[in-house]
Symmetry: C2
Subunit: 340 residues, 2 copies
């Protein structure tokens, strides 16, 4: 994607090494290229993650999600401003749902980056919501791991909170912020109830609009009734301590009102012992490992030696001549794994 | 979910047999229970699908998606009315994104079903957007296979077209209808561009509103520029014939205007030789088989004999003491699959 062919065709391990070293040395252009490799899920990404992953684990991963129109981008911009004011570095991964296939408009990045041109401690990157199922969660997880290793204090994962994958991405963060705007439509109300389950902090943005206080009160009332997602997106685990009720804050992103309080709430949540952070780390690790295992299994089945058998099994299922379980069993048997 | 414990604890194979037989005999209550089993992805669902899957392949699967507020539910209701008027049976699977965790509000079903109480040829079912990544696509695919085997002429898969998973569900149908409303906000505009890539038919609903004709003209102009997703959600395959440009229709779901024309367009698309249908069938079969393979792999790794090793590998990744590729390789080696 926009890279010279000569570089892209270099030995993946060498290229991964170069990009990783440059990234660790603070080269933002190398970091951007590395994230493109992560999006493309190839050998360069694998080699780079093998090197960089063990260097991470220090960044605070914050998921920011909410329905369209709640003002996520404006709030993220305000939060960047506040973080810079207190001297912290920040990277943003914005999951762009606009195109499931071609990758969609990444123009927003350039516009947003312009405000921080020359500031090495702000990095903004969109990732398209493309690829196979589950790809979004593992791609953004891998991107967060790279940004973590690159030394950013805080990594913001910004998603539109309307689809399952997008919510999962935000919910896999250490701290999940759900943004709501006052007075939303009916369908958005239903989405809201689902989002509240993953929230550690709820922000009513556009706090200067009429109805903001009432919306905040309504949300506090809803939060009492909503079951809490202990493992952040995973099913609630009965053995684990019940995470505490999320705080509800008011912000006006356009003026910056309430943004220092939001940062304080983020820091407070990070410091709490509700187990959320450990569980979020584990959930992210599991998502990464399982996604790699799925890739490996796919590679095994698409191996030239087995591709014809895989294709034939799928074609039989497409014709309803074979049920999908029988097809799966056949393919597993061909890998020597037998029936379970 | 709402089933007597006694029945749920019966032998899965026997229960699957009973439910399948009753479903094929036209028992809608058995069908509803079978779909609950499919949602829960257990042994009953597996046994039932092994029996029912080979009986399907006749229904026309139609995906209906669009941004919140475009009037999907009203249009689906109008389409049901039109289908019944011409004597066809119809099942609706509505993917409900309102709750990624607890399943959310399925109340809509009851309200919608009331209009067809006593009509065996209309069946409406919500499925919650829960479960692991990719689960949504395979669960709705399995549900569609059951409804197909149950003999419905047309199966409508209704999703909110804002998240990756939800769009994939609709895009996996034989024919994908994207609904738009006149005059949407900016963020919704961006979503729109992505949705157009998967559309076989584009419907501008609320056709009586000012701006509907202009929206239709704008969409026709956009469609010329948008790349077409030949495999309906999969990457465009250079070897395949380029599917033709989608039709753009106007409907007013609340009055029924344009709905007979929509049904005619659905029938026309089904009859075309653009290869879409065969490819959609293949894509659905592949999604089902791969999802089962992923379940099998998960079961292998979570097997009591290997669970401790799996947990330990994930814990090391969570602590950044091991990179996720090394962890995946370790787990594959424990299955005897070795490094690729």
């Amino acid at each position: 994607m926009g890279e010279p062919a000569g570089q892209a065709s270099a030995d993946p391990a060498a290229r991964a090494g170069d990009l990783s070293d440059a990234t660790l040395a603070g080269d933002r252009r190398a970091l951007a290229r590395l994230l493109t490799a992560v999006e493309n899920r190839g050998a360069v990404a694998e080699e780079a993650l093998r090197r960089l992953y063990p260097l991470g684990g220090r960044a605070h991963l914050v998921g920011i999600t909410g329905p369209p129109g709640a003002g996520k981008s404006t709030l993220v911009a305000a939060l960047i401003g506040e973080l810079r004011r207190v001297g912290r570095s920040v990277a943003v991964v914005a999951v762009d749902p606009s195109s499931p296939i071609t990758g969609g408009a990444l123009l927003g990045d350039r516009v947003r980056m312009q405000a921080y041109a020359g500031d090495r401690d702000v990095f903004i990157r969109s990732m398209a919501a493309r690829g196979h199922a589950g790809g979004l969660a593992s791609t953004s997880g891998a991107a967060a791991a790279v940004l973590d290793a690159a030394g950013f204090d805080i990594v913001l994962l910004e998603t539109v909170g309307t689809g399952q994958s997008e919510v999962e991405v935000a919910a896999a963060a250490d701290t999940t912020v759900v943004i709501e705007a006052p007075e939303m439509g009916d369908e958005v109300q239903a989405i809201k109830a689902g989002l509240l389950e993953v929230a550690d902090i709820v922000v009513v943005n556009k706090g200067d609009k009429p109805g903001a206080q009432r919306t905040a009160a309504q949300l506090r009332a809803m939060l009492v009734a909503v079951p809490r997602a202990g493992a952040r997106g995973a099913a609630v685990d009965a053995e684990s301590p019940r995470p505490k009720q999320p705080e509800v804050l008011l912000t006006t992103a356009s003026t910056g009102d309430g943004v220092p309080e939001l940062l304080a709430a983020l820091d407070r949540h990070r410091g709490t012992a509700d187990g959320g952070r450990e569980r979020a780390r584990r959930a992210r690790a599991e998502a990464l490992v399982r996604s790699i295992l799925a890739d490996r299994l796919r590679a095994l089945l698409d191996d030239p030696a087995r591709e014809a058998a895989t294709e034939q099994a799928i074609a039989l299922v497409a014709d309803h001549a074979l049920d999908p379980y029988a097809a799966a069993d056949r393919l597993l048997a061909s890998l020597g794994l037998g029936r379970l």
